[in-house]
C-alpha cells in the first residue's frame, strides 16, 4: 500500500504533463488530490503499524546480476518521516495556489520531488535509495531556476552542485561497502550486518556521513541552504527545508551510522581535545547551531532569517544523532518532524503571505507597512510559528529540543553551554524578525503600500491551520511518535550502533 505513495506521485506528474486542458484550476485540484491521496496512505499506514517494527512493503528482484532488489520497507522512523512528507506535500500545494506561470510543469516537478522523497524514506535497498536520492536533485533545480526569485539561477546551480557532490561521496561509500562485503546484495539489512574492518569504517563513515550531511546543512557545507531557500518559490522552500534536508539527516542515521558504526569509535588519540569522528561531528553540529542562529540575528532579508534558522535547527538534529543514546536519537527524529513542520510554516508566511503581497522581504522596509494590521492572519501565524520555533512548551520544538538536550547532557555535558547560547539566540532572532516585520513603527503613521494587499486566501489559512495543528499535536503528544520510534531504534538494524557505545 505504502508503495503507492511513490507511484501515485509520479503518475500524477505524468498526468499533469500530458493534460491537454489549459485550465489552471484543474491542474491545482489534480495536484492537491494527488498529494491528499498520498497523505491519506501514509496516515493509514502510520495508524496501522503502531508497533514501529520493520515491515516489508514490496520486494522484487530488480537487477539480478548485481543482487539488487526493488525493496521498500518501513519502520517507525520512516513512517514518522513519511507522515511529515505527506503533510508538507499537501500544504505545499495549498501555498502554491497562486502559481500560474507554467503551472503544469510546476506541479509536475513538485510531484516528482515528493514522489522521490517518499522513495528515499521507503527504500531498503541502498541502490534504490540512492536512485531516489538523486532523482530529488533534478526537480529542485528546475523549481528554483524557473519559478524562483533573488539570484535564482545561481542559487539553483549551487544547490544542485552541493547536493551532487554530497551524493557522489555517498556513492563512493556505497559502492565500497557493496564491494567489500562481497555479499552480492545491496540490502541495508545485509550490509549493516556485515562486520566491516574498523580501518575501512574509519574512512567510509565520515565520507558517507558528510555526503548525507551536506544535504542536512552540516556546517561548513551548509552554504547552499540559505541561498537555495531564499531563491526558491514558496512551495519549494517548504519542501527543501521541510523534507529534503531531512533526507540528509535520515541518510546519516539510517545509512552512514548503521553501516559503519565503528566509524564512531574513538581514534585512540586526541587532536585539540577531539578524539573521534563522533566528537568532530558533534562539534560541527554545535557550530552549526550557533553560527546559524547568530547569522540569522543580523539578516536584513526576512527569508534569510528563516534560511539561517534552518541551519541552526538542523544542527540540533545532527547533534542529537551524535549523542548515541536513545533519548537523543529519538529527539533527533522528533526534531526532524518538528523542524519540517515549522520551517514549512515559516517559509509559507514569509514567502507566500508576505513577500507575494508586499514584493519585498527587506525587514526595514516591511516595518513601516504595519503588516500586523494589514495582514493580521500572517502576523498571527508568524507569532505562533515563532513561538514554536523558539521552543515554547506545547509546541513540537520544545519536546524535540528537550529530548536532544537531555541526550547531550548524558554524552557531551561540556557542549550544553554552547547549545544554551544557541537556544537564546534562537529566541532573539525570531523576536527581532517578528518585531521588525510585523510590529515596527507603531508610533509613525502607516505608510500606504503602493497597491492594496490582497487578503489572505482560504487555501493559505487552511495550510497554516494544518501545520499549526500538526506542531501542537507533536508537541502535546510526542508519545504518539516516540512509541513507534523507540522500537525502530531497538531493532536489529541499529544493533551495531547500540553495541558501539550506546
Amino acid at each position: 500500500m505504502l508503495a503507492w505513495t511513490i507511484y501515485i506521485s509520479f503518475l500524477g506528474a505524468l498526468v499533469l504533463l500530458l493534460l491537454p486542458s489549459r485550465s489552471a484550476a484543474l491542474v491545482r485540484v489534480l495536484a492537491l488530490t494527488t498529494t491528499l491521496v498520498t497523505f491519506a496512505i501514509t496516515l493509514t499506514a502510520f495508524l496501522q503499524h503502531r508497533s514501529g517494527e520493520m515491515f516489508t512493503v514490496v520486494d522484487y528482484p530488480w537487477i539480478s546480476s548485481m543482487g539488487i532488489h526493488f525493496s521498500l520497507k518501513a519502520d517507525g522512523i520512516s513512517l514518522t518521516l513519511l507522515l511529515l512528507t505527506g503533510v508538507i506535500g499537501v500544504c505545499g500545494v495549498l501555498f502554491s495556489w497562486d502559481v500560474d506561470h507554467r503551472i503544469k510543469e510546476f506541479f509536475a516537478f513538485y510531484l516528482v520531488l515528493i514522489g522521490a522523497v517518499y522513495g528515499v524514506f521507503l527504500s531498503f535497498d541502498l541502490f534504490l535509495l540512492f536512485v531516489f536520492y538523486e532523482i530529488v536533485v533534478i526537480p529542485k533545480y528546475f523549481l528554483i531556476a524557473i519559478w524562483g526569485s533573488t539570484r535564482r539561477e545561481y542559487a539553483a546551480m549551487k544547490l544542485v552542485l552541493y547536493s551532487f557532490i554530497g551524493s557522489a561521496m555517498v556513492l563512493v561509500g556505497l559502492i565500497a561497502a557493496y564491494v567489500v562485503a562481497g555479499s552480492h546484495s545491496m540490502s541495508l539489512g545485509d550490509l549493516a550486518g556485515y562486520p566491516y574492518p574498523p580501518h575501512f569504517q574509519m574512512w567510509a563513515f565520515p565520507l558517507v556521513f558528510v555526503g548525507f550531511g551536506i544535504l542536512a546543512g552540516l556546517w561548513p557545507f551548509h552554504t547552499w541552504a540559505p541561498t537555495g531557500h531564499v531563491a526558491a518559490p514558496t512551495a519549494a522552500s517548504m519542501l527543501l527545508a521541510g523534507v529534503v534536508m531531512k533526507l540528509g539527516a535520515y541518510g546519516c542515521l539510517r545509512v552512514a551510522m548503521t553501516l559503519f558504526p565503528l566509524g564512531l569509535a574513538p581514534w585512540g588519540f586526541h587532536v585539540l581535545g577531539v578524539g573521534s569522528w563522533r566528537d568532530v561531528f558533534a562539534v560541527l553540529a554545535v557550530i552549526g547551531i550557533l553560527y546559524g542562529a547568530l547569522v540569522a540575528l543580523v539578516q536584513k532579508d526576512f527569508k534569510f532569517v528563516i534560511g539561517y534558522s534552518s541551519i541552526s535547527h538542523m544542527g540540533f538534529i545532527l547533534l542529537g544523532l551524535m549523542t548515541l543514546n536513545q533519548i537523543g536519537l529519538s529527539g533527533a527524529v522528533v526534531q526532524m518532524v518538528s523542524h519540517g513542520i515549522l520551517a514549512g510554516l515559516l517559509f509559507a508566511v514569509v514567502g507566500r503571505m508576505v513577500y507575494a503581497r508586499t514584493h519585498t522581504r527587506d525587514l526595514p522596509a516591511l516595518g513601516p507597512m504595519h503588516l500586523s494590521k494589514l495582514l493580521p492572519f500572517a502576523a498571527f501565524t508568524f507569532v505562533v510559528a515563532g513561538m514554536a520555533s523558539m521552543g515554547l512548551p506545547g509546541f513540537s520544538g520544545f519536546a524535540a529540543e528537550l529530548m536532544i538536550l537531555i541526550g547531550v547532557w548524558h554524552s557531551y555535558p561540556t557542549l550544553i553551554l554552547f547549545v544554551g547560547i544557541g537556544l537564546i539566540a534562537g529566541v532573539a532572532y525570531i523576536w527581532r524578525a517578528m518585531q521588525q516585520a510585523f510590529f515596527a513603527g507603531t508610533s509613525a503613521p502607516a505608510l500606504e503600500p503602493e497597491h492594496p494587499l490582497p487578503p489572505i486566501t482560504f487555501p493559505e489559512k487552511l495550510g497554516a491551520g494544518i501545520l499549526i495543528c500538526s506542531s501542537v499535536i507533536v508537541g502535546t503528544f510526542p508519545q504518539v511518535f516516540l512509541s513507534v520510534i523507540h522500537p525502530a531504534l531497538n531493532s536489529p538494524l541499529f544493533q551495531g550502533l547500540r553495541k558501539g557505545g550506546w
Binding site: M66, I135, V160, L161, I175, Y178, V179
Partner: protein, 498 residues
Amino acid sequence: MNAIHYGQLLQLAWPEIILTIAALIALAADLLFLRRSPSHVRFLVAASIASIGCIAAIFKLLPGSSEGALLGGVLLSNPATHLVQIALLVIAILTLFLSVDSAFTDHVGEFVLLILLATTGMMFLVASQDLLVIFISLELLSLSVYILAGFDKRSPRSSEAALKYFLFGGMSAAFMLFGFSLLYGFSNSTNLVQIANAIHGVPLNPLVILAIVTTVIGFGFKIAAAPFHFWAPDVYQGAPTPSAAFIASGSKVASFFIFFQVLVIGFAGAEGSATLHHFQSGWVPVIVAVAVVSMLLGNLVAITQTSLRRLLAYSAVAHAGYMLLAFVAHSEQSLAALLYYVATYALATLGIFGILAVTEKHLGNDKISGLAGLSRRAPFLSACLFIFVLSLAGIPPLSGFFAKFLLFSAVLAVSSGSKLLIGLIIFAIGMSAVSLYYYLRVLKSAFVADPPVDAAKVPAPVLMQLVIGLLAAGVVALGCAPDLILNQILNVIHASGL
C-alpha cells in the same frame, strides 16, 4: 600454417557480405532510378534498402548462428562478437533514419554506401584477433568516416573537419602500424594470443613498451581520449549531423571493444602496475594516465563551450576517460560494464544529434543559448533532450547512471584495497559531479530561459520524432531494467571466454 577453408570463411562472413550487397543495391537503386526524385524520397528508399540489409545481417547473428574461428583468430565468430555486431547494426539503422530528413547532400546513394561500408569495417574489426585484419578493418572504417565527415561539400567547416580528421587519423594509424610491426618482429606472429605468449615476462622489453604506447596512441585517437582528441570538437561541429552522430556512436562502440581485446589479450602479462609502491611498466599505467587526463580535460573544457556540438565532443572525451577505467580493471565484469556503458552512451549521443538535426534546421546554429525556450517550442523534443542529457550526466534512473554504477563497482571489485584504484574512482565520481554543471546549462537553456519574442513552434518530421522517441525510450528502459541486456552481455562474455 593450416589451409584456409573458403566455405567456412563464407559462413562466418555472411553478415558482412549481406551488408556489402545491400550497400551496392542501395547505391545502384539510387543512381539508376531515383536521380530526379526529391532528396528525402531518395534518402527514404536508400535507408530502407540499407536497413533491410542490416536487419538480414542481424538475423544471421542471432543466437544459434554459426560460431567458429578461422585460422586461429583471423576471423572470429562467437556470442560476444555477435552481440557487439548487432549493436553496431542497430546504430547504423538508427543513424540512417536520423539522416532521412537532412538536405546536406545530393549524393544520397554514396552516403548510405559509406555508412554501410564503415559498418562492415567495424564488424570485421570486432571479429578479429589478428593485427593485420584489425588494421585493415580499422582503415576501412576510418576512410569511410573521413569522407562522411566531409560529406557536406558546401560547408567549409565540414571540409575542414574532414581534413583535420584525416590528418590526425593518418598520423595515428602510422603510429599504430609502427607498433604492430614491432610486435610482429618481436613475436613473429600477428595473432594476439601468440604475441602475448612472446612478450610476457618481467621486466618488459623496451620495444614492447614502445609498441604499447603506439597502440594506445592509435586507438586513443579512435576513442577520442585526451590528448589524442584534437579532431573531436571540429568533427563534431563541422561534420553533417548524421555523420557526426555515427562517428560519435558506432565507431566508439567498435573501437572500445577491440581496444580492450588488443590490450587484454595481446598484451596479457604486460599489464604492469601503476601503484606508487610497486610501479611496473606496462599498459595499465599508460591507460591510467590517459584516463585521468581525459576526465580532467574533457570535463573542464566542456564547461566553457557555447556550442552544443563542441560540448558533446568534450563530454565524449570525458566519457572516454570513464570508460578507460574498465581497462584498468580488465576483468569479465569490467568488460560487461564497458559494453553496457558504451552502448547506452551511443544511444544518448545519437539522440542528442537527432535533436540537433531538427533544431539546427530551424535555429540555424548549434549554440546552447539558441535552445532558449525549446521546452515550449518543441515539448516532445525537449523532453527527450532532458532524458538524453541527464543520462549522460549519470542521473538515475536513466541508463547513464547504471552504466557508471556498474563500471565503478566492477573496478572497485578488483581493487582489493589498492589506493590507486579507489582514488581513481573517487576522482571519476567527483568529475561526474563537475559534468553536471555543463549538462545542466544545456537543460537550463531549453527549460528555464524564455523563448525569443518572435519564436514559433519548432516543427519536427514524424519519422525523426519516432526515432528520437525510440532512443529516449531505450535510454529509460535500459536504466530502469538493466537486466534487459546486462545478463545477456555477461552470458556472452562468459560463453566467449573473454
